[in-house]
């Protein structure tokens, strides 16, 4: 019986991902890593959770295996399964197993979207046992000290049904993320999109105002990621108004009046 493992080189980061710390998250993550504790990142979409994990992965010199969780993701998809290759039955490691074996960082993005059995699978990895049972294979993988499990979720739009259980939540060191304060966000937008400070400042002001609408019909405010997109379009020669309409107004709402009011805010700034 053959065993296939994905090449870890596929997950290795070549360059340092840009990340501007907004608080003590780097220190906290580093401390958790050194203490072999799993980490949970909470925060709205597009605020930099994934970039932070990438940055820490590069900083700690670990490979990063990211799994975008979805409602059809099963425990087998994570740990691995038997597949047929011609006449042979082959065990295919899942991304979690790959990360565990390689002593990398396994990042399960939006973990609450996955099916419930996946959270059961990660439990033994999050306590002092640090093991990953491969039930179908009758094997237990002991995680090396370098391995770290990181999960993320966005409490903003999780329903009661989709919230994480306390038995899961209380296994993690939680780092809370939010949109960076204005000066930091301007710096991020500048750095990531290449726009000058003035444009970055205006974009961030628009975002600040739009985020005020979060309890007035918007599920989420404008993410830093969208501001970067807007900056990239502007840097590429698109008129600021059109760029903001395409990256800020339209993605965050289908409500035409909401779109118009946001566009008026953009108009005020540009």
């Amino acid at each position: 019986m053959a065993v296939e493992t994905q090449k870890m080189e596929d997950y290795r980061l070549e360059e340092e991902p840009y990340y501007l710390p907004v608080g003590n998250e780097v220190e906290l993550f580093t401390a958790a890593y050194e203490a072999h504790l799993p980490v949970m990142l909470k925060g709205p979409t597009g605020c930099g959770k994934t970039r932070f994990v990438e940055h820490m992965s590069w900083k700690l010199g670990r490979t990063l295996v990211t799994v975008g969780c979805h409602e059809d993701l099963t425990a087998s998809d994570l740990v691995g399964k038997y597949t047929l290759r011609g006449d042979e039955t082959v065990w295919q490691d899942g991304p979690l197993t790959t990360a565990v074996k390689a002593g990398g960082i396994a990042y399960l993005d939006e973990i609450v979207e996955a099916r419930k059995d996946t959270t059961v699978v990660i439990h033994p990895l999050t306590d002092d046992r640090r093991i990953l049972p491969l039930e179908k294979k009758g094997e237990v993988v002991q995680a090396p000290l370098e391995f770290q499990l990181v999960i993320s979720y966005n409490p903003g739009y999780q329903s009661v049904l989709k919230d994480l259980k306390h038995s899961t939540k209380q296994r993690f060191v939680a780092l809370e993320f939010d949109y960076p304060e204005a000066s930091l966000e301007e710096e991020i937008v500048k750095q990531e999109s290449g726009v000058d400070g003035d444009v970055a400042e205006r974009l961030v002001k628009v975002a600040e105002k739009v985020r005020n609408l979060r309890t007035h019909g918007l599920e989420e405010g404008v993410s830093t990621r969208l501001l970067v997109y807007a900056g990239q379009l502007i840097q590429g020669g698109v008129e600021p108004l059109a760029a903001c309409e395409a990256t800020i107004c339209r993605p965050i709402t289908d409500d035409l009046e909401m779109q118009r009011s946001i566009l008026e805010l953009v108009n005020t700034q540009f």
């Binding site: 105002k209 005020n212 609408l213 019909g217 118009r260 009011s261 946001i262 008026e264 805010l265 005020t268």
Partner: protein
């Protein structure tokens, strides 16, 4: 059945069977058909009988007998067609009687029997009187119908007038409180237009009185616009009272369309939510945008309300009017955000101290 006899035979085919026509010598068939047609024009049943009897007379090729037969049939038919049918049936046989005068005597007897004795004077007088009465009755019938129509019309008008008086009374009660709420500058326009509607239909005037109050007080329409709105409503009212009342109640699509057409400037209700979201985003507070016509229902000095005109008419185009609204909304949002009206007497000492610190003693 077939006419076969040429163009002048008309409907003679109805009476002439193929066998009858075949019994007539070929060269006389047109004559036969024409004669049958002529007699049947007098009476259908006579035509049928003559069509049966004539072929034998044509076979005898005795034109004189044919002429005599037809004359006698015509004569008897003149006094009574039923007798004529029977005579037409019997005569050809009588022409062959040993005594040729029998046929003539037979016709005379039947004629006299049919005509009877001349009427006496009394009978003739009865008949004349009856005829005269019947003529008068025929003449009076349309008049009776017209009288019935007029009764219905007058009754309907009575009911209408009664309703009119009832609605006029309701209008009399309703107008004073409405006038008390009307802004003085609209009074002349309001009275003029409501009067126009009232003279046409008091019930519609009741609707118009309320609607015009909202339109004018809410500045939703100018005085000229109000006059035009009423004028078009009166046109509708003239064609159909119920539809017209709906118009003045603002319950018809047309009424709203006319108002929209006459409206000058940008209506707040079209952009209120956009402005609310805009002001909420700017201020970071939950802001409510209200029209000036809604001031009665709002605490106008409350920190979370922005009062704006119901219509913005500074500019010709809506885009610039929207910008004007936006400026006003931004001003309102700033007032809310920075607490312009959040001032209480308790704050005076702190405010004095703050100003003194900031600007020196002269400021306080």
């Amino acid at each position: 059945m077939s006419t076969q006899g040429g163009g002048g035979a008309g409907n003679v085919g109805m009476y002439v069977g193929r066998d009858m026509l075949a019994a007539v010598p070929e060269e006389r068939r047109d004559d036969y058909l024409q004669l049958v047609q002529e007699i049947s024009d007098l009476k259908y049943q006579l035509g049928v009988e003559v069509a049966r009897q004539l072929p034998r007379l044509f076979q005898e090729q005795d034109d004189e007998a044919i002429e005599r037969y037809l004359d006698q049939v015509r004569a008897i038919a003149e006094v009574g067609w039923k007798s004529g049918v029977e005579v037409a049936k019997q005569l050809p046989d009588l022409y062959h009687a040993p005594d040729p005068s029998i046929a003539d005597a037979y016709v005379e007897i039947v004629t006299e029997a049919t005509v009877g004795a001349p009427d006496d004077e009394e009978t003739q007088a009865f008949a004349a009187e009856l005829e005269d009465l019947e003529r008068q009755l025929r003449e009076i019938e349309p008049k009776q119908q017209r009288a019935t129509e007029l009764k219905s019309l007058l009754a309907a008008r009575d009911r209408r007038d009664e309703r009119r008086r009832k609605h006029a009374q309701e209008l009399a009660a309703a107008l004073p409180p409405i006038l008390a709420r009307l802004r003085p500058k609209h009074r002349d326009c309001y009275m003029r237009e409501v009067r126009l509607v009232a003279s046409a239909d008091p019930e519609a005037a009741l609707e118009a009185a309320n609607t015009m109050l909202d339109l004018l007080n809410g500045e939703r329409v100018s005085h000229d616009g109000a006059a035009e709105w009423v004028r078009r409503g009166l046109d509708v009212l003239e064609k159909n009272k119920e539809v017209g009342r709906g118009y003045f109640r603002m319950g018809s699509k047309y009424s709203l369309e006319v108002l929209e057409e006459l409206r000058e400037g940008l209506a707040l209700r079209q952009v209120a939510r956009v402005l609310k979201l805009y002001a909420t985003a700017l201020s970071g507070r939950d802001v409510a945008v209200r029209g000036i016509d809604e001031m009665d229902s709002v605490d106008r000095f409350g920190p979370d309300h922005i009062i704006l005109p119901a219509d913005m008419r500074f500019f010709e185009d809506d885009d610039r009017n929207f910008v004007a609204y936006k400026v006003a909304a931004a001003h309102g949002a700033a007032r809310i955000e920075f607490g312009t009206y959040r001032f209480t007497l308790d704050e005076i000492p702190d405010t004095v101290a703050e100003l003194t610190t900031k600007y020196g003693l002269g400021a306080a």
